[in-house]
Symmetry: C2
Amino acid sequence: MKQVKVSNNVIRRLPRYLRKLDELSENGVDKISSRQLGEQLGLTSSQVRQDFNCFGEFGQQGYGYNVLALREQIAGILGMDRGFRAILIGVGNIGRALMENFCFDDWGVRLAAAFDIKPALIGTEYKGVKIYSMEELESYLENNQVNIAVLTVPKAAAIPVTERLTAGGIDAIWNFTNVELTEPNSSTIVENVHFSDSLLSLSYFVAERCDEKAAREEQ
Amino acid sequence: MKQVKVSNNVIRRLPRYLRKLDELSENGVDKISSRQLGEQLGLTSSQVRQDFNCFGEFGQQGYGYNVLALREQIAGILGMDRGFRAILIGVGNIGRALMENFCFDDWGVRLAAAFDIKPALIGTEYKGVKIYSMEELESYLENNQVNIAVLTVPKAAAIPVTERLTAGGIDAIWNFTNVELTEPNSSTIVENVHFSDSLLSLSYFVAERCDEKAAREEQ
DNA sequence: TAGATTGTTAATCGATTAACAATC
DNA sequence: TAGATTGTTAATCGATTAACAATC
């Protein structure tokens, strides 16, 4: 795998390729060209080939790409085969929704433990994941390999918990709180899931469409 | 407001400006320069000024930007003052988590109704929102102004429900299913919240860091 | 007024697209 | 072999950054 400097845009497209390839192989498709793949994702064939060329040569000239082989390559690039381990902090509504509905295993991530402050929850299991007390966080991090913390705590707890996780040497935080955690000087990777940002972008496009409609009617 | 053709990148930054401006005004800050704002968001001052210049002149030379005034401008651009109305389809875990924890009103969106197929839920209220039967969807859309559908149904229901929403003339779908809904020929706006894409991007960065660490140790 | 900072034009940089030789 | 399609280089396009006159 060559791996020079891969742009953020490319990285954000990789999971989309993966999803499409999974869908194709489910439908029994075993080969695909960059043109076909691009068409199905709204990309040009050039872009598809350029994206893959960041990482190596996965296709065959005159043939295209083998769906399963390409899928495995991309899965590898995304680190799905590395056995990354995650813990979830905050077993509230969002936390529970994730534990219940989101198949971490499907994406190569093992959800190994959960943490909460609510005494009634501590020591219990939810969906096969044991819930620990927040007081045990530091010792757990010390005694177990943990790469990712899924942060689903209330807004007020976001910063202090983040500091504890960073001090505990966690690699990355998957942030579901609406708090901006990205610290310029910190080396912890942060991936934000900002529902409000997503809704507001959507709202922008709806407003734009309303304006266009109004403009057309005015004529 | 001028509004030529605004790039997607700019639109995705607007909610971040909004969040930062809210935070600043909470902390009693009433003016800010493009340089300061950029620093706090990891952007250059040029970029901040260019972004705002897509929509008009919101600052004052020699002074900077008034935090509250700028906040209102951006809120307006994002359509937060338009009274957009949303319905939620699928009162499962994710749906409930959103109804309970996500303040639609804070972002200018009114969550007006929810829909589900489960008989025990139909007719009840959850967090002040009435739950209707899925059979009532078409008539509801006909009799009420609805802009946005929050799609939190199981994977299998995603496509058929989307077709009904599109037929019912909905403007936009906020898609929480892991299904790719974006139809090339459809005019419905789709905003995807793909948890798996987000986690996989994070996983990529963790893998990258592991590789770097390993490379350093090898030397 | 002098200093600061905007709005905006020009320069640079990077990402996407086009083109085509290599080759299956 | 002929046709198809990759891998890759070159051209284009768009977004970001730099610069600076306008002006508060």
